[in-house]
């Protein structure tokens, strides 16, 4: 407790307002979208009002509930940061904020006291209801980062407000539902982060969710209604879904059962409905672990029906086949990621790939061990892989720029972990020749652990994504689509070949089967993937060189 007390003393003005009122504000009926708006700029007064009068059920995300008093406070905040222009790369202004709170605190001291005690408990949670502390990040680290990052958020929000205004779009009571047409500028804005309380709407807009919904009006409800009248409980996936509901965000207060509650949290109920409905809507996928995280996060920003359609969009448009029963989409994307690593991070590539496998395309069929770690990055779109604020910034880009973002971010994470990786490498070579097995494990552990410490999203964005000279920033959606096609067809061919040759080889000697597998590899390696966007000399030469080498070998 002494820790949190000292926090209030040193950061009080910054920290206290930011994490108000979670859980308490949850409406008693669906949708269960938590109120981010209240907590965003930290209006303490709204905490108070929020606790005294529960929000009425509302069919839209509850982000709309900004009131006029708040707006006035907003402005006082913003004026302080107006000068911070495009240059967000630095640490930004650290001018202490003036306390916006007194304006509205006019409640009885009794209420204040309960409020304070609730606030004290809530101080351990962030504005989305997640516990600030993790195995890798202390609450102190979180708070000191947040005291700066929250100011960055305020500056960015002001920028967005200006942009909307200039584009003749309304902020619609702090819940804009239309955004400017795509442009380089808008892309930059998205990459710098969509304001938290606009996120649901913005994701929905950029992913063209409404289009999807309009084509399927009423379908979500229909699925659920049919369910009620018939087979609930005997559904193929209901058991596996049930077992993951409470294992989705156990550290988030919206997903936790309060000790005095007999009913399960609304979020859990919504999560169940969306996952069940999806398993009926798309039986080819049904339920796949990791979808619980996707839906869980969506539900924090969108109502149930929209979350459902976003899941449909994610699993079909952004991650095709990834969650299918055979997980072939996972293997394809990991193959693509390996090609990207080979192309853009050659040093790392040589560490994870034994030479003989690297020469031909064998790694596309026998994926290296590391891919089981990186596979989860894709399956859950980084939920649980990086800290939440970083996840959200990635999602902003995902819905605006589509799936190639996931590959870029993966490459970024590996690039950022280079220092740690090389530290281990040097240590290794000095004492003894590196042992491949040990090295593999060490790499696996670093790649698994490193992203969990990426508390500040700008570590990825400023140090990698916004750096022009980093070659993989040329990757675009077209390239990834082409790459996916290539890997898909290579894997398919490999499967067909092995089925064909495999039957014969099984009945003959070892030498024959060795020959057979060489034959397959040769046949398939004749088609080498060349990255289009990297025609900048070196890369082009590499892919030509490879082709020449193969012709010679033959």
């Amino acid at each position: 407790m002494s820790r949190s007390a000292s926090l209030l003393n040193s950061y009080g003005m910054h920290v206290r307002p930011m994490h108000s009122g979670h859980g308490v504000s949850l409406p008693k009926k669906s949708p269960s979208v938590p109120d981010l708006n209240r907590t965003y700029l930290g209006e303490n007064k709204s905490n108070v009002s929020m606790m005294s009068e529960p929000k009425p059920p509302n069919s839209k995300p509850s982000l709309v509930e900004s009131n006029s008093v708040e707006d006035a406070t907003d402005l006082s905040f913003i004026e302080l940061y107006e000068e911070a222009e495009e240059d967000e790369n630095g640490s930004g202004s650290t001018t202490p904020m003036t306390d916006p709170i007194p304006a509205a605190v006019s409640y009885s001291s009794e209420l204040e006291q309960t409020t304070n005690s609730i606030l004290k408990d809530l101080s351990h949670f962030d504005r989305y209801g997640f516990k600030k502390q993790s195995t890798y990040i202390t609450e102190n680290e979180y708070n000191s980062w947040w005291s700066e990052y929250s100011q960055y958020c305020i500056r960015r929000k002001r920028k967005w407000q200006d942009l909307l205004e200039k584009s003749g779009l309304s902020t619609n009571n702090d819940s804009p539902d239309r955004f400017p047409p795509k442009s380089e500028k808008l892309k930059r804005y998205v990459r710098k982060g969509i304001p938290a309380e606009w996120r649901g709407n913005a994701w929905w807009y950029f992913a063209r969710g409404q289009e999807k919904l309009n084509k399927n009006k009423g379908l979500y409800d229909k699925i659920l209604n049919n369910l009620n009248s018939s087979q609930n409980g005997q559904l193929r996936d209901s058991d596996v879904i049930e077992r993951d509901l409470n294992r989705t965000f156990p550290d988030n207060i919206h997903f936790q059962r309060k000790s005095d509650d007999t009913e399960e949290p609304l979020m859990i109920q919504s999560l169940r409905r969306v996952l069940i409905a999806f398993s009926i809507y798309n039986p080819k996928i049904g339920y796949c672990q990791s979808m619980n995280f996707l839906v869980g996060l969506l539900l924090l920003f969108l109502d149930e029906e929209k979350a459902f359609w976003m899941l449909v969009i994610i699993t079909s448009r952004y991650l095709p086949g990834v969650h299918n029963v055979n997980l072939e989409g996972v293997n394809i994307d990991q193959g693509v990621l390996m090609l990207c690593i080979k192309e853009y991070l050659p040093e790392f590539w040589h560490r994870i790939m034994p030479k003989q496998q690297a020469r031909n395309n064998e790694f596309l069929y026998k994926l290296p061990p590391l891919t089981l770690c990186t596979a989860s990055w894709f399956m859950s779109c980084f939920v649980g892989v990086v800290p939440i604020e970083t996840t959200l910034r990635i999602w902003d880009c995902l819905f605006y720029e589509e799936s190639h973002v996931l590959f870029k971010i993966s490459l970024s994470i590996i690039k950022l972990s280079e220092q740690e990786l090389s530290r281990h490498n040097h240590h290794n070579t000095r004492s003894r020749p590196p042992n491949k097995d040990d090295d593999d494990i060490e790499i696996f552990q670093i790649i698994q652990t490193f992203p969990k410490k990426l508390l500040n999203p700008n570590d990825i964005f400023d140090r990698v994504i916004f750096k022009r000279r980093i070659s993989f920033n040329n990757l675009n959606q077209e390239e990834i689509d082409r790459c996916r096609k290539y890997v898909t067809s290579q894997r398919l061919k490999h499967k067909n070949y092995t089925e064909l040759v495999g039957d014969k080889a099984a009945s003959s000697s070892n030498r024959d089967s060795k020959m057979a597998s060489d034959l397959i590899n040769d046949a398939l390696s004749s088609e080498v993937y060349g990255f289009k966007k990297s025609l900048t000399g070196v890369h082009w030469n590499n892919s030509i060189k490879e082709k020449v080498r193969q012709i010679r070998r033959r």
């Binding site: 294992r247 989705t248 965000f249 990791s290 029963v325 996972v330 061990p369 089981l372 399956m379 042992n435």
Partner: protein
């Protein structure tokens, strides 16, 4: 079978955790590593890796623990991790009959990758604190473990902290490193001074009851 020894470094043993979704694989590892328990752990996607140094009988070994996703469709991704494991721990939930029936499949995967002889197979029935909800009796578990030729069968409760240390102690005892040694409790001070090390040779407050020695 022997652990991978390189130069002066510790002998390393690879342990893979298998079993249905939600039976308590992550919980078992967390109890062993940190001696803590939560009602719910985030579902594991893909594979999680942890490593821990363990003291027993004056010897130190390094355990590499591979925690896997339990849903059936992930089974196709996991074999490569079983391939060079020294120990396979197949977990079921004593309150869930289905999870018990599924251990056959996991054991089959292990035997396909490692053969019968090359791996120490453990069958673990978890959640045995939930007395009222039990669907699989200890005898059934023992019988199955015998049929499957498992070296170790044990019931645990990660919630109550029951038999978890015992499980790892028995695993360690079956490793070649410890085949001919007697249990000499290690200097406690030494063990506690290293944060990343678990000394399983001391008798803890945990009440221990061994399952059958099959």
């Amino acid at each position: 079978m022997s652990g991978a020894r390189t130069g002066k470094s510790l002998t390393k043993y690879k342990i893979v955790f298998l079993g249905e979704q939600g039976v308590g694989k992550t919980s078992l590892i967390t109890r062993f590593m940190y001696d803590t328990f939560d009602d719910h752990y985030q579902a594991t996607i893909g594979i999680d890796f942890l490593s821990k140094t363990m003291y027993l009988d004056d010897k130190t070994i390094r355990l590499q623990l591979w925690d896997t996703a339990g849903q059936e469709r992930f089974r196709s991704l996991i074999p490569s991790y079983i391939r060079d494991s020294h120990v396979a721990i197949v977990v079921y939930d004593v309150t869930n009959k289905k999870s018990f029936e599924y251990i056959d499949k996991w054991v089959e995967d292990v035997k396909n990758e490692r053969g019968e002889e090359n791996v120490i197979l453990c069958i673990v029935g978890n959640k045995n604190d939930l007395v009222d909800e039990r669907q699989v009796s200890t005898e059934e578990g023992e019988r199955k473990a015998q049929v499957l030729n498992a070296k170790i069968f044990i019931e645990t409760s990660t919630k109550a902290g029951f038999n978890v240390k015992n499980l790892f102690k028995r695993i360690a005892k079956s490793l070649p490193e410890f085949q001919n040694s007697t249990n000499v409790p290690l200097d406690n001070e030494n063990a506690q001074s290293k944060p990343d090390v678990i000394d399983i040779s001391t008798n803890s407050a945990e009440q221990e009851q061994s399952g059958c020695q099959c």
